[in-house]
Symmetry: C2
Subunit: 331 residues, 2 copies
């Protein structure tokens, strides 16, 4: 059987089982935004993400510094989703010998700039020549305060409010513009795609204020909400008209004939946080996120698993959220 026939989720299940014996003493292993190790006296949080030319980016879609920013930011976002503080990063670069030095140093300048802003030390890495596409991989270790536990995907309960930071769909809009080669006029969407903001302060504040479950929206709202529901054994009901839409996205969607809801619900790479908040703590969590200067919106609530994952349209009709999302191996 080929990887593309098995699919990404099933492959991950196999690898999870394979490595479970090596990680028997690990607090949180493969399957959350990040892994968690160590005793209560200062747990460590671990994540890694690879950006590959032709899959995750194209060289001519952004400045090298933006690409560097993004390859660290996507890892920082995993850290944010655990409510952890980033500390140490390792960087791997694979590129062809005919790659301009300025491209590589530009990428590294983008990484170094964001690293400095977030208190992340780039402590080492690996470089190698490659006959294939440019590959940028960051591994990141972070910390939790002594005695503190990370916020997992599995902690949600029916009745929890569902909060989301920022606005959605912007990165998906930016991706379509880039693919069409028509970015002019909507710089905000390109910014959303190329220089996503990891919600570190917001994730940390949400954890301290009592968030029950949390993930970052990297695969799209529908898919990432499904991740929380699957891990928590719940359903969810969200209101379509409550979902905060990226500001210039409606205008861009109208001009280009895109279906707006498709981008907002199924578009990935916004790197906002999706939070399940116990009803008695939802106000405090929202307040803590707003105090960090970031919009936060209540878009619905967690339900019993039997409800499934559904969206209420503006007329009050329920529609199930489709199980879609990007599979890296099926093309």
């Amino acid at each position: 059987m080929l990887v593309g026939e098995l699919g990404e989720e099933a492959l991950l299940d196999r690898l999870r089982r394979l490595f479970s014996s090596t990680a028997a003493a690990i607090s949180v292993g493969i399957g959350d935004d990040a892994a968690v190790t160590g005793p209560a006296a200062g747990m460590q949080v671990w994540t890694t993400d690879l950006l590959l030319e032709g899959v995750h980016f194209r060289k001519d879609w952004q400045a090298p510094e933006q690409l560097g920013h993004k390859c660290l930011a996507v890892n920082l976002s995993d850290m944010a989703a655990m409510g952890a503080v980033p500390r140490y990063a390792l960087l791997t670069i694979a590129c062809a010998g005919d790659t301009p030095v300025d491209l590589i140093t530009g990428i590294c300048e983008g990484i170094a700039s964001l690293a400095a802003k977030t208190g992340t030390a780039v402590v080492g890495g690996d470089t190698t020549g490659s006959p294939g596409p440019l590959a940028l991989s960051v591994s990141l270790a972070g910390e939790l305060e002594a005695g503190e536990a990370p916020v997992l995907r599995s902690g949600a309960h029916p009745g929890d409010r569902i909060l989301v930071t920022g606005r959605l769909g912007g990165a998906a809009g930016g991706l379509r513009l880039s693919q069409q080669g028509s970015g002019a006029g909507f710089p905000q969407l390109l910014t959303a795609l190329n220089t996503p903001v990891a919600r570190l302060a917001e994730g940390h504040a949400a954890r301290l204020a009592g968030a029950a479950a949390m993930t970052d929206i990297s695969d799209g709202l529908a898919t990432d909400l499904r991740h929380i529901c699957a891990a928590s054994g719940t359903g969810a009901r969200i209101r379509a008209d409550a979902i905060p839409v990226s500001e210039s996205l409606p205008e861009a969607a109208e001009r280009h004939g895109w279906e707006l809801q498709e981008l907002v619900i199924y578009g990935g790479e916004d790197y906002e946080l999706l939070i399940a908040a116990p009803p008695d703590k939802a106000g405090r969590i929202a307040g803590a996120i707003e105090a960090a200067g970031t919009l936060v919106t209540d878009i619905g609530q967690m339900t019993a698993a039997a409800t499934g994952i559904v969206m209420l349209d503006p007329r009050g009709a329920e529609q199930p959220l489709a199980q879609r999302g990007f599979d890296h191996f099926r093309r």
Copy 2:
């Protein structure tokens, strides 16, 4: 300027400078076998290595389990070279959708098996589809006991004895056999190439016994000795006839017309340890390595920098060791 024109060493120098500000508080940053962070109460050691199809391996040269073994082993070897104990690993796999599932699970079985043997927990990772070659990247974090310091490349002094574990040239011989498609008859050389042993117990014992400087021989004896000399500000004088040669290598070299010394001095990937041992501790260090069941050989001594890096041939003639070694970006 292109990366291939600048060269790997010069590129690394630029990246080191770029990231130095982010890692100002780091004990050991980019440029040793691994990075070191944290207070004396239990330092952490960090390393990452990428294996790329067509650059570091070919799929038909070894079993999937061997490939998995190797991609963890090369990282464990960096840990060994610091005298540290491996703890947590992150694994990144990039492959095409038409990759057989058995290849990926076989690789992961090889990783899991070696991880279990070495007390390493594979806590997470990333998988992605790729239009390019199969890429396997491991990031590894290890630990030092509270109050203990790692063994760096920079600690050698003139007069230190130069010790090497195991035997050299086997992996380079195995590589030539694989390239020629003529592996039969010399299984030991293929084993040296495909399932290298990270000298974890030996590195740990050497550190406790007082090793002054240490590195693993991944780039070849000449290049890795040069790394220690450059970091320590010394020269070195080694004896050609003292260097332990991989057991079946002379026979293979004779049969295939290879220059034996070329493989032993400049061949890479043996993953043995190269140690600078203060004269009064050399015996104790050698004894500790032998107690781990591993051959250890005194091949010469560190000298003043003015001597350069030289080898005495069996007739007592001195020849400088050429500055060679693999540059990943120049082809």
